[in-house]
Point group: C2
Chain length 498, copies 2
């Protein structure tokens, strides 16, 4: 039904409809109601921004504590497979349609196309003030189906910011490779898993054929600037001129020339199945900072955490840094392993349903009282997020240009590991009234450190703290990783298959 | 019954009995039988060694492929709680009893007490030759109950090799803290979980009271040497003289003065529950190396991997480096989180049941054909073990004293992460016939990197590869970490408790 409805709409009709929905939202805080409200924030050129958080952005939606909202989150990597992921989906066609006017209003902090992630929002939490806590319950995440082809695709780009460029290629042959994945569903349309479909060398080398932009290419593209003049993406030449590529590799996501031009490699098709673990790569409040903040490095505001545990059933707690909190989100993944090794998850578009709750600082429980990092909670665990630079914007070692310095190769896993430990130690001392010596033995004997991501400039390591520790159950415990670790083998273990 | 039997034995009686059992083992390869044999290798002064692997060690047991063997593994940390973990258990009393004669035969490579881990073995696999694969199926792990008190205790020592000494203490107050844990059982004696019992400052400062050694202290203790004259533990002064301590902190495990002397801190008692995940910290074949190899840094031979997945239901594959393989094992943990943050797991004594299988190189399947790292397999996953130095004994950057250099502070997590990637890439290319580009996207979208340990000199990182990838099931997948990561919430998730 959904497909046929979208099929029947023309592009112009939909554009008007989207604007109408957005316009219908109140432009200031509505009076709280006894029954929490249910909102829907569609993705469109009017509700998304590319590549930054900023406390000066105009809110796209006002909510009261307890309201639920469905948010459409659109991937910034759809340009790698225009035919499958953009074409036929009016919202994506609109967002990816690049004109001078649209670029100014939508893309990047300077309006010059210097964005990366497409973020929907910001959402304004009424009554939220600096120092409060925003609780984000992720009630549901569902893949976005392209009404044009009835399918959901995803992109995994092995980009030059991936760890393989640190670890080294065999024979030192460096390259950027994009892999297109398809979400496989059962007969009822329920997602089962993802399978790789094809790969291609991003850029395919200079002077290979390419598809020109589907809009007027703004002159500003020739002289990109971030808020900081030394930042990335500066003076990147236009990739596709007269049907020939003038570059190799990713310049930045969102350029729709980055889909294959006849050099697809299908040898990977169906080679393996990928377990789905839909999650939100990039979700955060606006940082308290005078200029726009790049969406690439994650921080105390959340942002590009790329932690696969920020999925359905999880709760995220964020310290509010500005009036209204100004929550934005995007960069969704159909799946990702801890580390996001090659630079991306399976980047795809997802519709998420959230309940947003405001916890005033004066009433915050010990678990949240002094929280200064993004805390994830699910039914089994607390997850403490740490970074190489827990507060990169104010870190004295990254001044005077923290947004540039944090992307320098100085980040490493030991810094991130220490960052996670520092956060966990203080949090457990506050939350459970532990001493430092009690924390050290506690986390050693029962908590797992994992490498969240090693590709976002500000490396992430997290600590998984099992709630079991503080329950009063007398039952034997089944560890999180169940097979091969316990005296009791659970029923859910898979059989030896190889 | 077991308790009463042990109670009725005197120390001398048991010693004779143990020797008799060991003597009953054949001293060369027995003829293979149609039905695999069942062996039992008790821990005693005659079957353990302290702190090293060596291809010149005399085998303590000969097995044929397919045999099963129960191995008693005794913790080297029982000296932290002599009254609870040594006293009353004749085998431990015997092993910890230190005389000139016994020290020479049991402890360390030099016979001078320079050992660390107590390792049972080696076990000789008949027909095994260099290049073959030894498959170790861990059929069962059960805690050792002290017949003297009917209890099982464990020790977690926050030692100076723990990561807290890298990350930094609050107010820079460095210290080593030991925490004693007790395994709680149900009415039928089934282990449920561990709880912390008490803590103490290791050493309690110089000139505090201490318990003298329960044997003649060998003169060699005053001038300890490892096989390399620059190694650790050299010229460590005798800790306890005339009832006063002359040192602070851990010199090395096995010194039985390291139990509290009235300064116990019981504030941690029962503060939390620790999920049990019994596993073997240190298990490996003898390295091909001309001198004894310290049991501290893990390597391609296995050894001190401290990977909590080496537990019941898991299989470990090791490349044989010497005739007979010469498998040894010890350093068991009742529980540990990934990283072994403070320097140890919950160190305890465990009886393990193993099936040992020899896979000749010529018949090895692709999964094992070129294996040059310890591979773990359980029902759900393969686990690829990597290190900062995958082959530390021959690593050119660690020469000429690799056993010393590998313990220097140069090890770090990025090296270990790269080590895990290097191992996984080659293994997947061999095993699944993948290209490098296929490996990169595969591990990114579905495999978790985790920090195995950051305390054994040669840091470890592992990659978890779900078997689900290669199954033909059409069912929806439940990820390994189930809550908050999937579209489907499993029944096994715990309820919000806090």
């Amino acid at each position: 039904m959904r497909m046929s409805r979208f099929h029947s709409l023309t592009w112009c009709t939909l554009l008007v409809a989207v604007v109408a929905i957005v316009s219908a939202q109140p432009q200031s805080c509505p009076r709280p109601t006894i029954t929490p409200k249910v909102h829907h924030l569609k993705a469109s050129v009017d509700t998304v921004k590319w590549g930054y958080y900023w406390n000066q952005n105009n809110p796209k939606l006002y909510v009261n504590s307890g309201d639920t909202v469905t948010v459409e989150m659109v991937t910034h990597m759809a340009g790698d497979y225009y035919d499958g992921m953009v074409k036929g989906d009016p919202a994506l066609e609109g967002i990816y349609h690049w004109t001078d006017k649209q670029a100014i209003s939508v893309r990047g902090a300077t309006g010059a196309g210097d964005g990366v992630h497409i973020l929907t929002g910001p959402i304004y939490m009424c009554d939220a003030e600096e120092g409060d806590i925003l609780q984000v319950d992720i009630l549901d995440l569902q893949p976005r189906v392209n009404p044009g082809n009835g399918k959901t695709y995803g992109v995994n780009g092995a980009a030059r910011w991936g760890y393989q460029f640190r670890a080294g290629f065999l024979n030192n042959i460096t390259r950027e490779i994009s892999t297109i994945y398809e979400i496989i569903t059962d007969a009822q349309g329920m997602p089962l898993y993802a399978v790789p479909d094809f790969q291609f060398n991003v850029g395919n080398g200079p002077n290979t054929s390419c598809v020109p932009l589907n809009g007027t290419y703004p002159d500003a593209m020739e002289n990109l600037t971030w808020s900081n003049p030394n930042a990335l993406y500066r003076k990147v030449p236009q990739p596709c001129v007269d049907g020939k590529q003038h570059w190799t590799g990713y310049t930045y996501p969102g350029v729709i020339t980055q889909h294959p031009t006849g050099n697809e490699d299908y040898s990977i098709r169906g080679m393996y199945k990928v377990p789905l673990n839909y999650h939100i790569g990039n979700i955060g409040v606006a940082p308290k900072y005078p200029v726009p903040v790049s969406s690439v490095p994650p921080g105390s505001h959340g942002g590009n955490m790329d932690n696969r545990r920020i999925g359905k059933g999880a709760t995220l707690y964020l310290r509010v840094q500005n009036k209204g909190a100004l929550l934005s989100m995007g960069d969704c993944h159909a799946a990702q392993g801890d580390s996001e090794f090659d630079g991306m998850g399976i980047e795809t578009s997802i519709n998420g349903k959230f309940r947003l709750t405001l916890i005033k600082n004066v009433t915050a429980p010990p678990m949240l009282k002094n929280l200064n990092f993004p805390l994830i909670e699910n039914k089994e665990n607390y997850i403490v997020q740490g970074y190489a630079y827990n507060h990169f914007l104010t870190d004295p070692t990254l001044q005077p240009n923290p947004q540039v310095q944090v992307l320098a190769p100085g980040s490493n896993l030991d810094l991130a590991f220490t960052g996670a430990y520092d956060n966990a130690r203080q949090w457990l001392m506050d939350f459970k009234n532990m001493t430092e010596d009690q924390v050290n033995t506690f986390i050693t004997v029962m908590c797992d450190y994992g490498t969240t991501q090693v590709v976002d400039g500000n490396f992430g390591v997290h600590l998984v703290v099992p709630k079991y520790a503080f329950t009063h159950s007398k039952k034997s415990y089944e560890p999180e990783v169940v097979c091969g670790t316990s005296t009791k083998l659970p029923k859910t273990c898979y059989k030896h298959s190889a």
